[in-house]
Symmetry: C2
């Protein structure tokens, strides 16, 4: 079983080697720009680690893992646009629309979403692509709630905006490892907790969300409780989940 850092390197090399649809032409450049910049690759690493823990291989899971990162990247490119969050910087570099213009960034985001689903469709069974499409829709629905400032509980907003893609990272790993649907529930329960953990720590770092609603200490409690439940979920799974436990611990202590 490969450690999280090794899996992240495999994701990076997979992204570098990724052959984008030829008809995208030079739009590939802003797409690759958006995929670069030193993302932490948490979602694809989670997918690969889940697949390996569940008896699959990293190589089989790689297209699904890359597809998750492309969906994440699509959401960042579009969310950064002036019409949404209007962020000029991303990972210490100019956002895609600052670097390439709004129109090109819009199309690059569209293409990242389409390319993600093309990747998830590399499998003969339709379930990975179905799960990814549903997760992307849930995430888009969460972003809609966020910008319309609908009267919605923070947990529900996070479950859509962040949680859906974390849950899908686990789910895609399970499909690729051929885990029958009837046996997936404990793994999926772990994925849900991991999404909460990630978001609560994110809110502590950024000073918003849970940190704004509950104070920094309150947000830290949410994170610690989610990490505890994530470990409990892993212990209930009859498999070597040590790498997934490492991921829980590293997410709990991250500061950037």
């Amino acid at each position: 079983m490969q450690a999280p850092d090794d899996l992240a390197r495999r994701v990076d090399s997979g992204l570098e080697d990724l052959v984008l649809h030829p008809e995208l032409g030079d739009l590939a450049e802003p797409m690759r720009y958006a995929l670069g910049g030193g993302g932490k690759r948490i979602r694809p690493v989670l997918c690969l680690a889940t697949a390996e823990a569940a008896g699959g291989t990293v190589e089989d899971a790689l297209p699904a893992a890359l597809a998750l990162e492309l969906v994440h990247s699509f959401s960042l490119v579009h969310d950064d646009l002036p019409a949404l969050d209007d962020d000029d910087e991303r990972r210490g570099r100019p956002s895609a629309h600052v670097a390439y213009g709004e129109g090109v960034a819009l199309l690059a985001g569209d293409a990242l979403l389409g390319e993600a689903l093309r990747l998830a469709l590399a499998y003969e069974r339709p379930e990975p692509a179905r799960e990814l499409a549903q997760a992307a829709l849930g995430m888009i629905g969460g972003q809609y709630l966020d910008i319309t400032r609908a009267d919605v509980a923070l947990e529900d907003l996070h479950r859509l905006k962040t949680g859906r893609l974390f849950a899908a990272a686990v789910g895609l790993g399970l499909w690729v490892a051929d885990v029958p649907e009837a046996d997936q529930a404990p793994w999926r329960a772990f994925g849900e907790e991991l999404g909460v953990l990630f978001q609560a720590v994110d809110d502590v770092i950024d000073g918003d969300g849970y940190a704004a609603a509950l104070g920094v200490d309150g947000a830290r409690d949410v994170a610690a409780n989610a990490a505890g439940r994530a470990h409990t979920r892993l212990e209930a799974i009859d498999a070597d989940t040590s790498i997934l436990a490492e991921i829980v611990d590293s997410l709990a202590v991250r500061t950037s």
Copy 2:
């Protein structure tokens, strides 16, 4: 076999009955707005008519047909945005971003693309969704060429921006009707010609593209030649293609 007008009504009722992903919440409203407004439903009708001519049923082909219309609608919503074509009006009504704001229109377009792929994934076989994803990417690549005004032949631009979705309309109809890949070539050749016909007539109506490059008479010649070749392609197919022939004739004489 159902006439084109009957098929268009089936598409309209299918769109009305379409259950969007529940996590989209109220984003469903701008999505439905974008899908309304009296579109001609040419792509989904072509898909349904192809499926029926190839031995399939309209009901089996309906999810694929609706998915094509959703991809088309996605492209219109995003193309109308100020960052791209900046069109305030669409089908005689305010564009989605004028009616709902740019941020919501951006997300509604994203959701239409994701929902389209979710629909195409309703089938057990992955080919319809694969073909739709590839066509969407080709179309996005064409829009990129268009806005960057790359030095590209008009035929190549049209083949991507318009042709890819027409070709996919035929292709999805064939997959749904279980036509083996080895037998698809003559049908697909017909779809390519229909895309050229549609675009040339469009350019005559709008006074751009072929009409700007070749004059209105030149564009009419392009359309007439494509219509002739489309009929020749149909005659080479051993099936009742009379409804598809009707579609050729109606596209050739349309004025809006």
